[in-house]
């Protein structure tokens, strides 16, 4: 075990919010370490292989981070924390203790997956999952693609598939049309978002976009061959190569929960300066409520200023106003894209619930708690530690699972236990 150089601030997560936080604090003279799991900074929304793929706002923010001399650790992740001031970090396989005065969590969000027959077939993935794989080098040109999900993420992903030359057959939104209209009404003041939505829709203009529509099942052999979709009450069968099916995003809060931060309605609870319930720990961006990249950058800016003690700068009226708009947007999104009850009944008793431990839906009793499901049926006990089925259990059975256990995210237990001096198993 060794101890890395102590920092004034560690920022966990290199997406828009984390980048803004790191830049703002470093520009004010702090020694900042930015820990990011990705190969390149930018998070999921700015995932890229070459920097020319990045939008101008991303380029500018990355320039700020470089100019402000933020120390960047890519392909690194936080495994554990002995306290909010000492993290256990896996730096590309070398596990070290990382002391820090303060901490900003910018851990983002992940997709909400729900089980349906055939969801374990290769070729079935998330909506953002398909986008991430595409941005990481998967060629979709000439492939038949169906997207079935919920919320604003469908639009950029559909546009990206169409622009990349995929044969996009259908985009299914589970929410009803009225919900979309209600949601659009809440963002009418934000011309930029409406322009984005229109340009995305234009990009996949030849593909039907259907509300009140969702995947019923996927069929295939060694991989996906066909998908059956309920389109406004009528079943449609589509032959396809890729199905992107996930139902919105949920805040990624495992590190926050490990640190003991309050989590309310699945999001890390923060005050107007982005402070969590734990002293010295701030949280910004999607992990405090899913709202998009621009409001996330505002929150990052606020926290990055606040950690330096420059509270007047953190409370600049322009930031306060933009932060409020972002939280309003987050609330509207959660309200209008609520999961419809039909999606809870897609899985049959044979459909796997926990993909890691191969536990079918029929093997669990809905009257159990999440803890009982772990003890009796190993639900959420596998490699992903419930990252996928935890959300599904919440939607299907109302199970709340607020425990977070180290090492976060995965194996490499040997190095982790060496680093913190615990006996390995």
């Amino acid at each position: 075990m060794s101890r890395s150089r102590a920092m004034d601030l560690v920022v966990v997560g290199g997406g828009p919010a984390g980048l803004a936080a790191a830049a703002a604090a470093a520009e004010r003279g702090m020694q900042v370490l930015l820990i990011d799991q990705g190969r390149r900074l930018g998070g999921q929304i700015w995932r890229h292989r070459q920097s020319r793929e990045l939008p101008p706002e991303a380029q500018q923010l990355l320039d700020r981070v470089r100019t402000a001399r933020v120390t960047v650790a890519s392909e690194a992740r936080v495994l554990d924390a002995t306290s909010p001031r000492e993290l256990v970090v896996d730096f590309r396989g070398r596990v070290d203790l990382q002391p820090t005065e303060q901490l900003i969590l910018a851990t983002g969000a992940m997709e909400r997956f729900l089980p349906f027959p055939g969801w374990t077939l290769p070729g079935v993935c998330g909506v953002g999952g398909l986008q991430a794989l595409h941005k990481s080098g998967l060629t979709v040109a000439g492939s038949r693609v169906v997207l079935a999900g919920s919320g604003p993420l469908l639009f950029p992903v559909a546009a990206a598939m169409a622009r990349a030359g995929a044969e996009l057959l259908l985009v299914a939104e589970q929410a009803p049309r009225a919900a979309l209209i209600g949601f659009a009404a809440t963002v009418t003041r934000d011309i930029g978002k409406l322009v984005d939505a229109a340009s995305y829709r234009w990009a996949f203009a030849r593909t039907p976009f259907r509300t009140s529509s969702w995947v019923i099942r996927a069929e295939g052999d060694d991989r996906l061959r066909e998908v059956v979709v309920s389109v406004r009450g009528r079943e449609r069968r589509l032959r396809c190569d890729w199905l992107g099916a996930a139902f919105g995003l949920v805040p990624h809060t495992d590190l926050a929960r490990l640190l003991g931060c309050d989590v309310i309605d699945e999001a890390i609870a923060v005050d107007a300066l982005q402070r969590t319930s734990v002293e010295g720990v701030y949280a910004v961006g999607e992990c405090t409520g899913v709202k998009g990249d621009a409001p996330g950058m505002i929150e990052g800016e606020i926290a990055g200023r606040a950690v330096t003690g420059d509270l007047p700068a953190a409370r600049a009226p322009k930031l306060v106003h933009a932060r409020g708009a972002g939280r309003h947007f987050a609330a509207a999104m959660a309200r209008h894209f609520a999961i419809r009850p039909e999606l809870r009944g897609l899985a049959t008793p044979e459909t796997l619930l926990c993909r890691c431990e191969d536990v079918p839906v029929g093997a669990v009793d809905p009257t159990w708690t999440a803890r009982q499901a772990k003890l009796y049926a190993r639900v959420g006990m596998g490699s992903c530690q419930g990252a996928v089925c935890g959300e599904a259990c919440k939607v299907l059975f109302g199970w709340q699972n607020n425990s977070a256990r180290p090492p976060l995210g995965a194996p490499m237990t040997g190095a982790w236990s060496d680093a913190i001096g615990r006996s390995g198993s």
Partner: protein, 82 residues
Amino acid sequence: MTDDVTITVNGVPRRVPADGTLAAVLLGLGVTAFRRDLGGAPRAPICGMGTCHECRVRVDGIDEVRSCLVSVRDGMQVETAG
């Protein structure tokens, strides 16, 4: 365009683009069984960002490497479940 590298997948050398993640490259090569479940059914990545753990393969002798989190490297030895 980017340079290609050579990786070995289940003993077969393959030329692949150098700038992709291993998961994306394997999907591009038509790999469906990154791993297999207890019943022998093939599994492939669903999240593409390190969360789902479905993309685990053996890389250079190390088991359980999440292929969506690593870049391809010239000479990389990869073993999937078929």
